[in-house]
Amino acid sequence: MPSVESILSGLAGDRATGALRMGRAGTFYLTEGRVTYAETSVCPRVEDLLTASGRISAYAVRQARQGAGEECRGGDRLVERGVLTRGELEFCVLGAVLDAVFFLFRASARPRFRPGERHWLGPQWYFDVTGLLRECKRRRAQLDQAWPSPELDTLPVVPMGRIHAQRVLLTALQWEVLVGADCTATPAELARKLGRPAYSVLLAVRQLAAAGLLRVPEREHRTVPAPPAPAPLPRRDDGAREKLPGRDPGAAPAPGWIPRTTGDPADVSLLIRLKNALEALT
């Protein structure tokens, strides 16, 4: 089966317009050979990003979508109605497409091209395949740099109840992730809930994990040394003296071991007072 990249490159060469469906994983939309939109089931779509913030109503988006046709691009309608600026729409499309592509390139579904199919937004930003691949590679490296393991990517985000650090610095997005985390939502679900790109949330989750602010399953599954059983209390019998644990002078101090205070005049005077009290009893 040819790779997604080679199919996209072929379509670019043909200056094709249409939708490349990757099964259930998602869809690339091409306009005259260049990628102009992409969406997946994992990432929030442009309409999700726009409406989640509350600044743009779902009604305005629906209207633009319904009014979109061959000669009228839905995205242009949004801009014309003053719902958002051209720059905001472009930046939103840019973010959503790069987000979707990051997950789509890893999809294993059989691609099927449907010529002529368009996305309702219309082309707002043009991407070439090599640029998309380069950016995906860069993003993957960035994720691995933050926290080099995918173990948390698909698990519920669980913030630690108590942390080892005494002070923490967070970015605005990391704050949103922590506030939004309900211990059941995965990074992708959080992204949808927050209306933020899935990649940004994933990066924030990995950064939070690296900072020790999230529960990491591997640490729990790792064989934790069982706490040492409490030493049996010394019995009052003939051999009691020998059984009392004596300190080996050559042994290394155990972790958490605190040196005893010896030679302190307070200790000596306390012992003398104890001795006097015991003698007074007899």
Binding site: L49, L50, A52, S53, G54, R55, V79, G82, L84, T85, R86, G87, E88, E90, F91, C92, L94, G95, L98, W125, R134, E135, R138, R139, Q142, L169, T171, A172, L173, G195, R196, P197, Y199, S200, L203
Partner: protein, 126 residues
Amino acid sequence: MLGIEECLTEVMGIPGALDAILIDQTSGMAVAVGGGSRHVDTEKSAAGLSEALRATLDGLAVTSAAGTARIREMIVTADDGHHLLRPLETVFDGPLVIYVKLDLERANLALALHRLHSLSGRLITT
């Protein structure tokens, strides 16, 4: 109302502007490039600049009594020019940063800031 490319053209129209990059702060990606930046490794520049902004934010957050920080613009005057960074918050993704490098001799910082303010208001409305 501006598009991203038009915004970049206007940034490059600021007197003394040498390079300009629009950066997505979260991913450190170069969104659009203008001027002399076309000749250098834009990807590295964008990543480096967003890292510089992040480090400055961290430093300011620690320094401030409240422990939080919000940068309106960052101006670094170096041997090779003034470097201006202006993060613009958007409702759907981490800030979009306008970066422009200005000539030390020819640029007027106050004018450049004024122009940046006016065009960022037409690019992002929050």
